[in-house]
Symmetry: C2
């Protein structure tokens, strides 16, 4: 089956978590809105269509045959067993999904560091508030997420190479992306955090070295981080004095 | 099986979405942290325990036999078929879960109207920023969520009584809670929004009239809305002039 991924074309954003899963497993997919000629028009027509049985609230969404699935974690829940990257028992799937949803919460908090007031306004219009929110995020929330996932790696009864059992899963790919994005957005904070979280750093490197993923990351299909995405590098958000 | 729900004892919060599912189906459960003597101590010990196989990042979490499941939507995904309130086919479950995750995003946005800067600070310390975030939420986001769910009700091929098919599901109970909470937090805005969203109002009333749920809502098990929860009534957040 050829999967169709629909997501805003200029950013990694939430779509990237789905791309990493598709790329790492070598799945056949098309990134619909990235087609320079008709991509965005196709996605917008799709979103406004009255004919879709299960209309998404927002991208990303995935077309898989007749199914249309939205919400990043839900897409990954669907893809997991199909791409062979999650155990099939119900407790394992629930646990993987629980971690994926925790990452989804983390993603939203990253977004709100530069958009604490309104997604519909520019960063420049909420810069003062962003400084406050980013200070809190850097001081408390980012370390909390790092501590949690480091702990999950540490206590994996099958070893600390991956979050779940002995094999890589979508949650590992997503955690790689969180580390990669955090390095882009908050390099100074990460320089402080990483030494205390060696298992996460090792997981990041282990994921990045996977042959298909390494090829993807070098390819033009991997968009660069930029200041329209979720992870944005605004040095002023990191450089303020902490209270 | 007697389910054990773990959630902060003084508020409806995210735990309420799980409570509504358990109450409506007449499930046997105990709201662990509400035990005045040892509840909170039990929950905190649980969260700090090194022995749990799948430790939660935060409450709510549900203990079901040996399973421990966190993340509200994940708990409801698990409970759905067991409480008999969701269709069992994979496309139906994915669709229900997609809507549940959209409600989870909505809940986070409600929370951030009064805590746009930091969950660790008091509302009083971020009041000015809360005015900005709430203005955006009231003007754009709340209507967007209402329009979306009204549309989903309207286009349900099995009729507009419920979101999915012909029968009530957890998503309907959660949508009831969103309407109930929005009425508490944003009464003026709701007075404007409700006439344009008749199917949602009817769904709210239909859910509230369900015998087990009606009994629950009258019981002391239903906590009152208050200014420690997610839905808070701060009149100043609604009364400002819109730009």
């Amino acid at each position: 089956m050829r999967y169709e991924l629909y997501y805003w074309p200029g950013i990694q954003g939430r779509g990237e978590f789905v791309r990493l899963a598709l790329e790492d497993s070598g799945a056949d997919y098309v990134d619909v809105a990235r087609d320079a000629k008709r991509g965005m028009a196709t996605m917008m027509r799709f979103m406004e269509s009255r004919a879709i049985e299960h209309p998404p609230f927002a991208p990303p969404f995935l077309k898989a045959g007749k199914l249309v699935i939205a919400q990043t974690a839900n897409i990954l829940f669907y893809l997991g067993p199909r791409l062979g990257c999650v155990a099939k028992s119900e407790p394992s799937r629930l646990w993987a999904h629980q971690l994926q949803l925790t990452i989804a919460d983390w993603v939203s908090e990253v977004h709100d560091t530069h958009h604490p007031i309104a997604g519909s306004l520019y960063y420049e219009d909420q810069k003062a508030e962003a400084r406050g929110r980013a200070a809190e995020f850097i001081a408390n929330r980012l370390p909390k997420f790092f501590d949690y996932f480091e702990w999950i790696l540490k206590r994996n009864p099958k070893g600390s190479e991956y979050l779940l059992g002995k094999k890589v899963s979508n949650v590992d790919l997503s955690l790689f992306q969180m580390i990669e994005g955090s390095r882009y957005a908050f390099p100074k904070t990460m320089a402080r955090l990483e030494p205390g979280h060696p298992r996460m750093v090792a997981l990041h490197d282990r994921v990045m070295a996977r042959p298909r993923l390494a090829a993807y990351l070098r390819s033009p299909r991997r968009l660069a981080f930029n200041e329209q995405g979720i992870f944005r590098h605004y040095p002023e958000l990191e450089e303020q004095e902490q209270d």
